[in-house]
Amino acid sequence: VSSAGLPRAVEGQAPDVFRNGGWVPMRSYRDDDEVDFAIVGTGAGGGTLTCKLASAGFRVVAFDAGPFWRPLEDFASDEKEQQKLYWQDERITGGADPIQFGANNSGKGVGGSTVHFTMLTPRYRPEWFKSRSLLGYGVDWPLAGKTSSRTTRRLRTCCRCPVLSRIPGAAGARGIPGGRTN
């Protein structure tokens, strides 16, 4: 939606996040169309998955609770103002040692928290993949060694190429910031 509350990404196009007032093509579907995948949430996980599936030729619809931002027009260089990018709805936390979720570690809008990730992307150190065994907390990942570095490389590649309009047949949510490949 736009700041006026109207849907922005409709009728086969979506905001071009790199140009004021610009648009990029985006396949859209009617409510009664049959699709292969419906993805809830367009952040680092859902947005990337949408991109990969659509690029592979699947019919994909992606949902997000928040706006489809135009960063160049909608964002100010101001910490209080950018709170509108955060997930502010209530999530309940409890237990003996409840986690403080915080607001700014998740996002609400197309792109999710990647909209305000501030280009901070800590690389996983090898020992973190075996944190339970080696460090005594968390859990061991089912990934390690070469798998993790290959996975990391693939993720890094697809997370930095959000401009799906150049991929024939691409569909789904767009405008996931994080840089572009060209």
């Binding site: 709170q83 209530e90 403080q100 998740s106």
Partner: protein, 155 residues
């Protein structure tokens, strides 16, 4: 309480106004914040005054002849129900927590000193606030609202 002293005495963020650091969107946001301070919409008059008294002790601004408004922005946040993205399961929802908490502050103030917080001398106000921070409180309100959770900023 120890007065806050900025280590950046020469820094003025508004000096960025006409520099490349700010664009038109940023200037508009800051212009509105400086000139359009929100009116009271969420708190009652009494709640507002209690919160003013709290802010005057927690973030005193003796060096400013024209203090930066704080309460109007909290009121605005609650008016729009801009929450923090999560809630502890032993806490009421944000708006209810604020109403209860401000009521509880005056309860604790009356329990200890016989009058509302805003009517107390500063030293007694500090005693009340420290008691809430430490969870050393009594009465029905604080049975419904964990005092230390209320006092601790959630984000």
């Amino acid at each position: 309480m120890t007065p806050f002293r900025t280590p950046y005495v020469d820094y003025d963020v508004l000096a960025k106004w006409d520099t490349p650091s700010w664009d038109d969107q940023t200037r508009e946001v800051l212009r509105k914040r400086l000139t359009e301070v929100p009116a009271r919409r969420f708190f009652s008059e009494t709640e507002w005054q209690t919160l003013e008294a709290v802010c005057a002790r927690l973030v005193p601004q003796p060096e400013r002849s024209d203090p930066i408004p704080i309460v109007p922005w909290i009121d605005e946040k609650l008016h729009h129900n801009w929450r923090d993205g999560f809630r502890y399961d032993d806490m009421p929802p944000l708006r209810e927590a604020w109403r209860l908490g401000l009521e509880g502050i005056d309860h604790e103030s009356r329990r200890r000193f016989g009058t509302d917080l805003r009517s107390l001398p500063e030293a007694d106000q500090d005693t009340v606030l420290k008691a809430i921070q430490a969870g050393e409180v009594g009465g029905a309100v604080w049975a419904r609202l964990p005092a230390q959770r209320f006092f601790t900023p959630s984000s």
